[in-house]
């Protein structure tokens, strides 16, 4: 675990071949370059609550009073926008396995190095670049820590 963090930190930049069309730069524990156009927080919110698209609430609780049945496998999303920068959140969604190979969190932009992917999903990320930008934009609005 520690060694993975060290490895991530020690490499100044790593080429992430997540998308065949576009190689993404990882710098330290962040992904500074946007994956698409500017994110839309409201669209991001819709992705987060959609249990067939973002799946986020299956594992995470979030400060969304209209949402019921949120999971407790992962940290509360409250305060995510205060704990991390945009670039850090981008990497934590797009490629969390880069920071911790053992993580339960899927890498939403990863298409390579996966095994036995069902046919309809082969070569496709869970969310596309724009969707990830939208989710990041929404998470950045969550400044208040969980009570």
């Amino acid at each position: 675990m520690v060694s993975h963090v060290l490895r991530a930190a020690s490499l100044a930049a790593v080429l992430l071949m997540a998308s065949p069309a576009k190689a993404q730069m990882i710098v330290g524990d962040a992904m500074p370059e946007p994956l698409a156009g500017a994110g839309d927080a409201m669209r991001g919110r819709a992705i987060i609550i959609d249990r067939q698209k973002g799946f986020c609430l299956l594992c995470h609780a979030a400060p969304l009073p209209d949402q019921r049945f949120m999971g407790n496998l992962a940290p509360n999303l409250a305060g995510a926008g205060a704990r991390y920068t945009q670039a850090q959140l981008r990497l934590r969604i797009a490629m969390p396995s880069h920071l911790n190979p053992d993580t339960l969190m899927p890498s939403y932009f990863r298409t390579a190095g996966l095994y036995a992917v069902a046919m309809p999903y082969v070569g496709k990320p869970i969310l596309d670049g724009q969707q990830i930008e939208d989710v990041v934009a929404f998470l950045m609005t969550l400044k208040e820590p969980a009570p």
Partner: protein, 255 residues
């Protein structure tokens, strides 16, 4: 030498960690996690829809079939003689020289003894007979596997801990590491196959463990293990070993 091999295995993979964890695994049936009304549906045979299949199974047990015109009961006698059988499946079959599920054994009987047309793996009669035979063992503990099943157990354990699919998750990550925690509105069960075939409310139908495994792999967006394949049977065999000691609930209700 043997100790060295174990040590190397421990250092090289998560399999050993899994083993040490399962020692302290407080085994719980998914029944314990169900809402009271779902438990009530299973407890009362008069309200358990799976009993419709059991009733069909009773008719099939007595029905002569195939070119030999034999019924199950012509060889086995009353179905009560099947008591305990379901606690030992999947099991190594010397005649088939492989480990088979109860459903596959029923199909083998049908082909060898009745010389009747085979059913498809998930066909209603196979489920009906599996439910009937399983019911004869209700309340009996799932038996530990023996040496003949050891290879299948090991293969199944490896598959259980292998990360798969677009979600890149293994069975063990949810059902060993996070069992008891909430995935959305559902509590993650330990995943013990104590009630198969089950009547799953999600299906509104009776289904096999193989069908349930397909749903799991669907959830992580992975290709399922092919129906009836050695991988599929291996996972089921490992699950039997992992659940050994828990009582059979067949035919169970699950959400």
């Amino acid at each position: 030498m043997k100790r060295l091999a174990v040590l190397i295995a421990c250092l090289s993979g998560p399999v050993c960690a899994q083993d040490s964890k399962s020692v302290s695994f407080d085994k719980r049936s998914t029944f314990d996690l169900m809402k009271p009304e779902t438990q009530a549906m299973q407890r009362d045979d008069a309200s358990n829809p799976a009993m419709l299949w059991v009733q069909e199974g009773r008719a099939l047990w007595q029905a002569k079939a195939g070119s030999t015109d034999k019924a199950c009961q012509d060889c086995h006698g009353d179905v009560a003689s099947m008591k305990g059988v379901a606690t030992r499946y999947p099991a190594y079959s010397a005649a088939q020289q492989k480990v088979v599920t109860l459903g596959q054994q029923i199909q083998f009987c049908r082909a060898q003894e009745q010389k009747a047309e085979p059913w498809t793996a998930e066909a209603r009669p196979v489920l009906a007979l599996s439910a009937l035979v399983g019911l004869q063992s209700r309340g009996l503990p799932l038996a530990k596997t023996g040496p003949a099943e050891a290879r299948a157990v090991a293969e199944g354990r490896a598959l259980f801990t292998e990360r798969r699919g677009q979600m890149n998750l293994s069975c063990a990550q949810c059902h060993d590491d996070h069992a008891g925690q909430s995935l959305g509105g559902a509590i993650i069960p330990q995943g013990h196959p104590t009630g198969y075939p089950i009547y799953r409310l999600e299906w509104q139908d009776l289904g096999s463990l193989e069908r349930r495994l397909r749903n799991c792999l669907n959830g992580v967006r992975s290709e399922p293990w092919p129906s009836g394949s050695s991988e599929n049977v291996a996972v089921q065999t490992y699950l039997r070993e992992r659940a050994a000691g828990l009582p059979i609930e067949t035919p169970a209700i699950r959400p």
